[in-house]
């Protein structure tokens, strides 16, 4: 009997018995799929669909593909690998359909079941996703690594054999990692059982931009926080984007265990990279079932955000002054989903001596590893065009962003030097940046 045959006036039909249709599956995404009413708003916010003629958009990749799979033993469409995991669709959906969760799950299943493990693409993606491993090796011999990684003939070979674009310059590895600096300095200079943060520095500010991590330390010590730097691995961001969920789960287990221990010691977790904080806050509880994973998500903040919530940051900034060039600010996509896309611009509006201009809602186009792939490079630059144009149209001759790969793209497209908001804050609040 169909619904149309029942009499809707009988109040007794109200009793609602939920039926678990897909019992035994690890992740039931049906409520999310059912919440989609196909308004297609997600598609208009997808930066890839705007330039990629082969990409069917987030609505297909999420709820539609999920439903198609229920019908039979259908393969996942390989186009899932063209999603850059910018997660803009999450922020656009008026029904809170967990689009990025569905994409991550589908991409993970595609890589696990359908991708040829000996293919160049798989090997390339695995290497890109496990950036931490390469960075760890490189950090042992930074000068050689910096030379070798940008050595023309080597890059030509990398592009031809691995599909890593030769158009981009590899980021330089620091002579001294953040953790080496931290150990040399003797760890925390402030002890304070009442105000404690555990710093998740991530791979990039450890191996490539320790100046960002150091700025974080100086700013937080200025506000009298005791900083813990627990052992940690990759947040998993590049692994999610490449469907390497097994790798990501392994790293997540270590991170959750270490951070939960710090939380147990009275700390909140802060991150200076918006993709790292995004992973800990949203992707972890969405994708993995690990003890304390929800506790970690609930206690994790972005570095600037945490101070805004807990300190009179606006007051402190209003009383300060810097002498810095004007900057064009780009909000990373992953900052948007955490509600952080305006905080730097609005905070520095009250700071004398620097003018920070928001370059608008466009995506930078690099999306972590996406723009490093030889076949995606052109699309990555097409997506970035609008941001480059807005940066160049603005008054500033330098750039600002929280995300290390957005920074790479901003620099690549405009030649601007890129600063992290915490570095500006350090300049404003602390007189010296010496260790």
């Amino acid at each position: 009997m169909s619904d149309a045959d029942t009499t809707p006036t009988d109040a007794s039909t109200d009793s609602f018995e939920p039926v678990d249709v897909f019992s035994g599956e690890p992740m039931d995404l049906r409520p999310g799929a059912d919440d989609c009413y196909k308004c297609t708003t997600c598609d208009t916010s997808c930066p890839v669909a705007e330039v990629d003629d082969d990409f069917p958009g987030p609505k297909f990749q999420g709820p539609e593909q999920w439903r198609l799979k229920r019908k039979g033993d259908d393969d996942i469409d390989p186009s899932i690998n063209s999603c850059s995991n910018c997660m803009r669709c999450d922020n656009a959906c008026p029904s809170s359909v967990p689009l990025s969760q569905m994409h991550n799950e589908a991409r993970g299943a595609f890589v696990e079941r359908q991708m040829e493990k000996l293919s160049t693409e798989y090997v390339r993606n695995r290497i890109l996703a496990n950036y931490r491993t390469s960075a760890w090796f490189a950090s042992k011999v930074p000068q050689i690594a910096n030379f070798a990684m940008n050595f023309g003939p080597a890059r030509w070979v990398m592009e031809k054999t691995l599909g890593v674009t030769a158009e981009r310059e590899f980021p330089a590895f620091a002579q001294q990692t953040f953790r080496e600096w931290w150990a040399e300095r003797g760890g925390a200079h402030v002890e304070n059982p009442d105000k404690r943060v555990a710093y998740f520095h991530g791979c990039y500010s450890n191996y490539n931009t320790p100046e960002v991590a150091k700025a974080m330390v100086h700013v937080y010590e200025h506000f009298d926080y005791e900083i813990l730097v627990p052992p940690q691995k990759c947040s998993g961001t590049p692994m999610f984007a490449n469907g390497m969920l097994t790798d990501a789960r392994r790293h997540a287990r270590t991170n959750v265990e270490e951070l939960a221990a710090a939380i147990n010691d009275g700390a909140d977790v802060i991150a200076s990279c918006t993709s790292c904080s995004m992973a800990l806050r949203q992707e972890y509880p969405e994708l993995f079932d690990i003890t304390d994973i929800e506790t970690v998500a609930q206690h994790t903040y972005e570095g600037l955000e945490y101070l805004r919530i807990n300190e009179d940051l606006r007051g402190a900034v209003e009383e300060s002054e810097v002498d810095m060039p004007d900057m064009a600010y780009h909000a990373p996509c992953h900052a948007r989903n955490q509600g952080l896309d305006r905080q730097a611009v609005e905070l520095f509006r009250d700071l004398d001596g620097v003018d920070v201009e928001d370059v608008g809602p466009s995506c930078s186009g690099i999306s972590g590893t996406y723009g490093w792939k030889e076949e995606k490079y052109d699309k990555s630059m097409q997506i970035g065009e609008e941001m480059f144009e807005h940066m160049e149209a603005g008054a500033g001759e330098e750039g600002m962003t929280e995300c290390p790969t957005c920074a790479m793209q901003m620099e690549h497209g405009t030649g601007y030097e890129i600063t992290h908001p915490l570095e500006v804050l350090q300049e404003a609040l602390t007189e010296t940046s010496a260790a």
């Binding site: 916010s45 003629d53 959906c93 008026p94 206690h299 305006r342």
Partner: protein
């Protein structure tokens, strides 16, 4: 608590943004909290005032219909001068990008569905397409663009009795996209004047020129050409003018169903105005809880996967939208306003919420909070819920936005009043 403003607006749609602008104009510091990108992305970009009252309409002059509205309609609560002020504010925000401000009269704007909508303000891109204009019209659609069937829309406009000849043709866009390409893909190709495909337009180096050359032989005397709302995005004006110059007739866009680029463009205009006014914005997480003291709100909390962030203020505006915007929720247990749990009157038996005739007089369409003269939501006993909370936009009950074509106007008028009064109390 560290994050604190004078006025906090919850909800980032037309009502919330208007409220934030009005409050900022009083000199108050203002923050706008919104959960997601606004439902303007679903909107046609048309800004209506009042199109129908009961069986009357379309109204030539929306202001003549005000006295026919029931007392509980938000327009009756704020009055005609507030409606005019709301539209003045709108005109200040949009500048030359919109038309219609020169008159009280409704404009009749054709849509992609082949219907006519009475509206108070319309994007400049739609100005050449008005249905009151007698120029013969060609509508152009594209193969593979499932949202718009030009011949069908033309037939429906003709059947509606428009005072001009109208034809529709479906062309192959000069550049081939996937079958269900997103409309942003078309808009971008026109914005950037990308290269057309050789087999579709062999002689021309940009899609704009190629498109004009494809349309020209179909003109057959038509005095204007209408396209779906994808004639460029950021460069909409430039693309439209380029096509018009090449075709030697005016070019216009038809109002679209969701997703709609004119709605997105309208949102951008408002965001720029908010930035200019110094309004702080936080978007991405929902407001889920609040604290109050002596009948006044002190704090609201946003939620991110169980993590709560407090935002304090002296005055608050609730502008979370209606059933579509999720400012009003319903379940088998009843109808409720999820943020502050403000009272929403509704029949106990949920089969009385709707009428069997889909286009009939639907009770659920008028569900919403009941305000006092000061737009403060009232509880079931008729007392204010909180002394410092005002409501604006479609979270207010008493109007049937879809049937009366008054949603945008109600948002602008009540947003303006709520924001101004909140700001004035600081």
């Amino acid at each position: 608590m560290a994050i604190r403003e004078d006025v906090l607006v919850v909800g980032g749609g037309l009502a919330g943004m208007s409220a934030a602008l009005s409050a900022a104009e009083t000199g108050a510091t203002v923050r706008l909290l919104s959960h997601k990108k606004s439902t303007l992305r679903h909107a046609s970009g048309l800004v209506d005032c009042l199109g129908y009252t009961g069986d009357d309409g379309p109204l030539a002059d929306p202001y003549t219909g005000l006295s026919d509205l029931p007392n509980e309609h938000p327009y009756r609560v704020v009055g005609e001068s507030a409606i005019r002020e709301g539209f003045d504010r709108f005109d200040g925000v949009v500048g030359d990008s919109y038309r219609g401000g020169h008159t009280d009269a409704n404009a009749l704007v054709p849509t992609q569905a082949g219907t006519i909508k009475p509206t108070a303000r319309y994007p400049a891109s739609m100005a050449a397409g008005l249905a009151s204009d007698a120029r013969s019209t060609l509508l152009v659609g594209f193969e593979g663009l499932s949202d718009f069937d030009a011949p069908l829309a033309a037939d429906r406009l003709a059947a509606a009795g428009v005072p001009f000849d109208v034809r529709g043709v479906t062309l192959r866009f000069p550049k081939e996209f996937r079958a269900d390409a997103k409309l942003t893909r078309y808009a971008r190709a026109l914005d950037r004047d990308e290269e057309p495909d050789r087999d579709r337009a062999p002689r021309f180096d940009g899609v704009r020129r190629a498109l004009a050359e494809l349309v020209r032989p179909k003109l057959d005397g038509a005095e204007r050409v209408g396209f779906p709302s994808l004639v460029g995005d950021d460069e909409n004006d430039v693309v439209r003018e380029d096509l018009a110059n090449r075709l030697d007739v005016p070019v216009f866009e038809l109002a679209a169903s969701p997703p709609s680029l004119p709605g997105v463009r309208l949102e951008s205009l408002f965001l720029a105005a908010l930035d200019e006014a110094g309004v702080r914005r936080t978007t991405g997480n929902p407001v889920v809880d609040y604290e109050s003291e002596d009948g006044a709100l002190t704090t609201v909390y946003t939620d991110k996967n169980g993590q709560r962030v407090p935002y304090g203020a002296d005055q608050f505006v609730l502008a979370t939208g209606g059933l579509v915007g999720k400012g009003i929720g319903s379940s088998r247990d009843g109808v409720r306003e999820p943020v502050f749990d403000c009272h929403i009157p509704h029949p106990e038996d949920r089969y009385d919420w709707s009428a069997t005739d889909a286009f009939g007089d639907q009770p659920f369409a008028r569900f919403g909070v009941v305000p006092d003269d000061d737009l403060r939501p009232l509880d079931a006993a008729g007392d204010v819920e909180f002394s410092n909370l005002r409501a604006a936009g479609s979270v207010l009950g008493g109007a049937d936005f879809a049937a009366q074509k008054c949603g945008s106007g109600v948002s602008l008028a009540t947003g303006h009043v709520a924001g101004e009064r909140a700001g004035a109390l600081i």
